[in-house]
């Protein structure tokens, strides 16, 4: 059974990482005076996304549903997040590499091309979807039904066997 204190702590960490991610996505363009600052922000952001994915996976492994082998039930619920997280991490790393590569020598110059603009739009859109799915998933993982045997789980198991 998931302890409430543990869950609260994990939720706090996850939401803090999400908040940091949102902050960097919003204001990183304003903090480009020194390229090193932006580089550090980007590195921490990418690590935060990775940490968030690892935490959500560990939380899923911790569920009773996963331990009894009903992985499909979890995947059905959280597939979108896992796919979106992978996509968002990829897009973020690509954008960060590209932007840092263009701005490393001269940070305050106009670097935008159509390709960069498209990548930027997709990365930011994926970020919003990632925030939504991640927040939803962390809240759903507080579902007590996922951590113990219950009639609901037995029904789900019966449906999965059919």
């Amino acid at each position: 059974m998931l302890q409430t204190n543990n869950y609260s702590l994990v939720l706090l960490i996850q939401l803090a990482l999400l908040t940091y991610d949102l902050f960097v996505n919003s204001f990183s363009e304003l903090l480009r005076a020194a390229p090193v600052v932006q580089l550090v922000l980007f590195i921490i952001q990418d690590i935060a996304i990775l940490f968030n994915v690892i935490i959500i996976l560990l939380m899923m492994f911790n569920t009773y549903v996963f331990q009894v082998g009903l992985v499909s039930l979890l995947l059905e619920r959280f597939r979108a997040l896992l796919m979106l997280s992978a996509l968002y991490l990829t897009l973020s790393i690509c954008l960060h590499c590209w932007v840092m590569n263009l701005r490393w020598m001269e940070s305050n110059r106009f670097v935008w091309t159509d390709g960069l603009q498209v990548l930027f739009v997709f990365q930011r859109l994926a970020a919003v979807l990632y925030y939504y799915f991640y927040k939803r998933t962390t809240e759903y993982l507080g579902d007590p039904r996922l951590y113990e045997d219950s009639p609901w789980l037995r029904d789900a198991f019966a449906r999965a066997r059919q």
Binding site: S26, E29, A80, F110, R124, D143, P144, E148
Partner: protein, 410 residues
């Protein structure tokens, strides 16, 4: 000796009551088993001490099922045929005497009996009596009128090899069951006697603990708290975004003048605000979009599409916020261009190019403002609509109702 034995048997037959007595009936099997002569009086003395209470026997924790059955029957029969307390002491003494005589007779019978049987008994002196004692008890109980001990002895020896059908051990009593002060709980592979009152108290305590656990702060509550907290932030973001977008577009129109005649003034005045404004718009739009998606089941595309086709306010607001987000992001390049207006004036802003760059930007800003304002109005029509919260509320463990506390069949 044989004649004495017969005599004793005959007198015993006459004296046996029509129904087996509570303690006597139970002690008979143990007496009939092939215990050594030394052991028998000791056990008898023990029984003689304990039996009048009838309760001390129950505390034998290592009791087997057969013993349990026999005891249960004996206890349950006690109220049905209450033994008169005023049994003459002389009669009791007589009975005791007869039993000792019986025993002696049995032992003598063993010594004088069939040679092969005796040999078998001496070789199996350690094992056979225990086996027979275990399996014999229920049999004796089921046939209360068996009193011919010689016959019993023969049966025991032969029965030690032949398996007794299991159902006879566990067959339910035909008579109406009486509540017993003890209940037998299976620990490992043994049934152990325990006080019914203690167990009931323990189960009550368990129930109260269970209630305490249920009333405690659960992970679901934490989820709901976080979600309601975010909902407050989201509602604030909706309103703030609508107001900020309106202020932004008003400032742009004011600075650009009538018929966009003073675009250079706009660039000079607004260039320092363009990028922070863009960043703030993204932040607020991200918060608002996530909040709007919470009101729509976006994870299930079919349901989301259906609600969109049915023009539900939450679905429309989500769509408007998402469109506004895309439009805002698409203006990132232009915003940076405006931001860099003073530093790279000649390269980025060649003379006469302001109109071609700024018209779409102003138009997009206006569209974003209208969308955000409309979405805010739509959200405010049904601020209580929240799919995610509904789901969070639904995630409650449905505990199966505890079964009715019927008397457990012993």
């Amino acid at each position: 000796m044989d004649s004495e034995n017969l005599k004793v048997k005959s007198t015993r037959r006459r004296e046996l009551p029509p129904l087996p007595q509570t303690s006597r009936g139970r002690t008979l099997p143990s007496l009939a088993s092939q215990d050594t002569v030394d052991e028998v009086p000791r056990s008898r003395r023990k029984k003689a001490k304990k039996d009048p209470d009838g309760t001390e026997d129950m505390e034998d924790t290592g009791m087997e099922m057969g013993g349990v059955a026999s005891r249960r029957q004996s206890v349950s029969q006690t109220p049905l045929t209450p033994e008169p307390q005023e049994v003459p002491a002389a009669r009791k003494k007589k009975k005791k005497k007869q039993q000792t005589l019986d025993l002696e007779g049995d032992q003598a019978g063993l010594v004088n009996g069939d040679a092969a049987d005796a040999a078998e008994q001496t070789t199996d002196a350690e094992e056979a009596p225990r086996k027979s004692r275990k399996k014999k008890k229920p049999k004796v109980v089921e046939t209360p009128y068996v009193n011919d001990l010689d016959v019993e002895e023969d049966d025991i020896i032969s029965d030690a090899q032949s398996p007794i059908p299991q159902h006879s051990l566990f067959s339910a009593p035909t008579g109406q069951s009486q509540p017993v002060g003890k209940m037998f709980v299976e620990h490992g592979r043994r049934f152990q006697a325990a006080d019914r009152i203690d167990k009931r108290m323990a189960s009550d305590q368990l129930d109260t603990n269970f209630m305490d656990i249920q009333s405690m702060w659960t992970t679901r509550d934490v989820s709901l708290k976080v979600h309601s907290g975010y909902r407050v932030i989201g509602l604030f973001a909706h309103g703030f975004l609508a107001g900020y977008a309106a202020w932004n577009v008003i400032v742009i129109y004011v600075l650009s003048g009538e018929q966009f005649s003073t675009l250079n003034n706009l660039l000079q005045q607004y260039h320092s605000l363009a990028y922070p404004s863009q960043s703030l718009l993204y932040l607020l739009l991200a918060l608002s979009t996530v909040s709007a998606f919470d009101r729509l089941n976006l994870a299930k595309a079919t349901i989301a599409m259906r609600s969109l086709l049915m023009l539900e306010p939450a679905a429309l607001a989500s769509l408007l916020y998402f469109a506004a987000l895309v439009l805002t992001l698409s203006q990132q390049m232009t915003s940076d261009r405006i931001n860099l207006y003073p530093s790279s004036n000649s390269t980025l802003w060649p003379p006469g190019s302001e109109h071609t760059t700024l018209y779409p930007w102003i138009g997009v800003n206006l569209a974003v403002t209208l969308m955000v304002g409309l979405a805010w109005a739509l959200i405010s029509t049904g601020p209580e609509t929240d799919y995610t919260e509904e789901f969070l509320l639904s995630m409650e463990v449905e505990y199966p109702k505890p079964p009715q506390k019927a008397d457990m069949p012993v």
